[in-house]
């Protein structure tokens, strides 16, 4: 019988603990990993977040001049790895947790950036912003004796390999000649 009395007392004393949702809402605590938001102005299109996303909620579609980043919240597990790896802090987790939707389209976010051409072969290889970011990080440093940094960096990976190969061969020949 004592169990019944104790339970009755608990039921009466503790009052109401549930919320009258949606008019009453529980406030989200600080640091809640809610909906991840990608800042359009800040993103440089490096693709690090895409590489690291475990469920592939972040995907990239590259076509000619366009570089499209797509974030599908239906797959997002809110792990926070994208926020961790972003070099320019473009990804932030808001405290919004009410993400239910009746359409799939409402859960997709797209971000489109422009890509640049390789100065040697003309293929599109990276985004304009990523290129400018690299340049701004390294200022006037250059590692190619004859060319400026901007020219060197504006080569696609294939042409970079060729240029490196040529430059190394030239340097080697020069050193050998000097001996």
């Amino acid at each position: 019988m004592s169990g019944i009395i104790k339970l009755l007392r608990l039921g009466i004393e503790k009052g109401r603990v549930t919320y009258r949702y949606p008019s009453e809402r529980k406030p989200a605590p600080e640091g809640l990993r809610g909906r991840p938001e990608i800042g359009f102005d800040t993103c440089i299109g490096c693709g690090a977040c895409v590489r690291v996303c475990p469920p592939n909620a972040l995907t990239v579609e590259e076509q000619e001049e366009s570089w499209k980043l797509r974030l599908f919240y239906g797959r997002c597990i809110m792990c926070g790895l994208c926020e961790e790896v972003c070099p320019v802090d473009a990804v932030h987790f808001s405290e919004e947790y009410e993400l239910a939707s009746t359409t799939k389209e409402a859960l997709e976010v797209e971000l489109q950036l422009r890509r640049v051409k390789c100065v040697s072969c003309g293929a599109y290889f990276t985004t304009e912003r990523a290129l400018n970011y690299t340049l701004s990080e390294y200022g006037e440093l250059s590692y190619d004796l004859d060319k400026s940094l901007k020219e060197t960096v504006s080569l696609c990976p294939e042409c970079k390999k060729t240029r490196w190969g040529d430059a190394s061969a030239d340097a080697y020949r020069r050193i050998k000649d000097e001996q």
Binding site: S2, G3, K6, L7, L10, V17, P29, G31, M78, C79
Partner: protein, 553 residues
């Protein structure tokens, strides 16, 4: 009583054991030829009292032209783990089954057969375990050659060969599952019931097989696997992430920083409190005591809010990764956490004394679902199931990891063996966890919380053990070359505990079936398949969606 188990085994089987070595610390490797497996494993398990932790087979056909077969056994009192390793050459894909003598190896060997195609010769009933009924018998998903995106056509008709007791036609077949309000996840127990008494039980699992191990090997990296590991189970996720991280850190021979270890303990214990409160609520619901459900979950909500404050999410914390933890506990949050833990303790103790005084509840759980000490040992059950039958085992105390070595806590053990014993153990476990959390939050050392891992050597075998809320969580992995694992095997504690359900259910009434199955604290996961049995002809058929509306479920 310190004795080296490896020496004992080598002394008993001098010719059969081909090599022994130390993998790391307390993990040893004993190699033998596959013909001698049953004798050695039987001796190690039955005579020396080892607990079968897991059994893994790996496809090494591309590199070594063979398959690795590992049986991992653990001795809690001595604090030793032994990996019994043997190989099966390509072309001779079989091994001698140890199930006839060690019944708890049943599920592992069946899984090996269907996943890798290694036939356990002598196994009493090598039926499918995890794969769908209409999965072809000659396609083995865990072989390296099987591509993840292979399409397998489904069949209209397929069936699963259930076992029935001898006088089956006299009894009613009652399908408990795969869809049942009490169990919260699909698992299919088939009861042969005589009125309300259960006379025969058979079990079909695998409704929630998601192929995580294959995904980890092919698509994920060392960094992202802990997030997958956390989602193996919704309630004990951190334990899985921890076991994986420990296994990987063991393979790389690194230790996370001190503060990280203490935070990990806080995460694990918080999860244990949350899991046990959830279970107490669910168990109350199963015996019709809904107020217990509401009240226990009211207290549990406090714990979840605490988790939300500390980790950023109510469940699936995402905190434990190899190398340490991802977030630090700020000083102001630590103070709030201490206050919340104290509140939880007061409310919980108040509620527990009220519920345990309730006669109508105690009557329902005393004396049902008996599992004797002998049976518990023989079936290598783990966690509260084992401790409820008097088997004293606790990874935190016997294989101290993270900060447990410096913390004070007790491990409750009850001799009763019935549902009441298991309930008391989980209830007391929660109190101990609250004590541990308080110690952690008060005495946590300073320092960094993550040490990046530079290099992980390939081809290293490692085992990570963690005491999850349901028992021992054993993760076995072999490191690979492309920044991912070569083989990863998750052995959740329910995998070991479920087969023992059959023993507990026979002879009990249908009314108690729910709470008995619930007392295992099953943590399966979900899929959707319905099998019906035509009671007159015994023919089975898989029912499609449209048909469902017309048939009794």
């Amino acid at each position: 009583m310190e004795r080296n188990i490896v020496e004992e085994i080598r002394g008993r089987f001098p010719k059969e054991v081909t090599a022994t070595s130390n993998l790391r610390g307390d993990i040893w490797l004993v190699e033998l030829r596959k013909e001698h497996l049953p004798a050695v494993i039987e001796y190690a398990h039955n005579t020396l009292g080892g607990n079968l932790l897991t059994m893994v087979a790996t496809d090494r056909v591309d590199t070594e032209d063979d398959y690795l077969i590992d049986y991992v056994l653990g001795w809690y009192r001595q604090g030793q783990i032994i990996v019994f390793r043997t190989t099966a050459r390509r072309g001779d894909e079989s091994f001698t089954s140890v199930t006839p003598m060690v019944p708890c190896a049943d599920w592992y060997e069946r899984e090996t057969k269907e996943q890798l195609g290694l036939m356990p010769v002598g196994h009493p009933n090598p039926r499918k375990l995890l794969m769908a009924d209409d999965w072809p018998d000659d396609v083995f998903p865990m072989r390296k050659g099987f591509k993840l995106d292979t399409q397998i056509p489904t069949k209209e008709r397929s069936s699963f060969p259930f076992e029935a007791p001898e006088d089956a036609p006299m009894f009613n077949v009652i399908p408990y599952g795969p869809y049942h309000f009490a169990i919260h996840e699909p698992i299919y127990f088939r009861f042969h019931a005589d009125g309300e008494r259960i006379r025969g039980v058979d079990l079909r699992a695998g409704f929630n097989y998601r192929g995580l191990e294959k995904i980890a090997e092919t698509r994920l990296t060392y960094e992202t696997i802990p997030f997958m590991a956390e989602r193996v189970c919704g309630i004990c996720g951190s334990a899985h992430a921890e076991a994986y991280s420990r296994a990987l850190e063991g393979a790389a021979s690194i230790e996370p920083p001190e503060r990280a270890k203490w935070i990990r303990v806080a995460m694990l214990e918080m999860e244990r409190i949350h899991s046990h409160l959830l279970w107490l609520g669910v168990a109350s619901h199963m015996v019709g005591f809904d107020t217990g459900l509401m009240q226990f979950w009211r207290v549990r909500d406090k714990v979840m809010s605490l988790a939300e404050l500390l980790t950023g999410n109510r469940k699936l914390y995402g905190m434990i990764v190899p190398g340490g933890v991802r977030r630090d506990i700020r000083e102001d949050k630590r103070k709030v956490a201490l206050k919340v833990v104290q509140e939880v303790q007061t409310e919980y103790e108040e509620l527990l004394s009220a519920v345990l005084d309730l006669d109508t509840l105690k009557r329902r759980i005393s004396g049902v679902g008996h599992l004797s000490n002998e049976e518990a040992r023989r079936h290598s059950v783990t966690g509260p199931m084992a401790r409820g039958s008097g088997v004293d085992m606790d990874v935190r105390r016997d294989f101290p990891y993270e900060a447990y070595g410096s913390l004070e806590f007790k491990t409750p053990v009850e001799p009763g063996g019935d549902v009441l014993a298991r309930t008391l153990i989980r209830a007391n476990d929660t109190l101990e966890s609250i004590k541990i959390m308080r110690q952690v939050l008060e005495g946590i050392p300073g320092g960094s919380v993550h040490k990046p891992i530079d290099y992980i050597p390939p081809d290293v075998t490692s085992v990570g053990l963690v005491e999850g809320p349901r028992g021992t969580d054993a993760h076995y992995l072999i490191t690979g070359r492309d920044n991912t694992v070569y083989r990863w095997r998750v052995r959740a504690p329910t995998y070991a505990n479920l087969p023992a359900a059959k023993l507990m259910l026979e002879g009990e009434t249908l009314a108690d079936a729910s709470i008995i199955i619930g007392s295992i604290d099953p943590c399966i996961s979900c899929a959707e398949r319905i099998v019906i049995v035509n009671m007159k002809s015994g023919v089975e058929k898989v029912v499609s969606g449209e048909d469902l509306g017309r048939r009794p479920i």
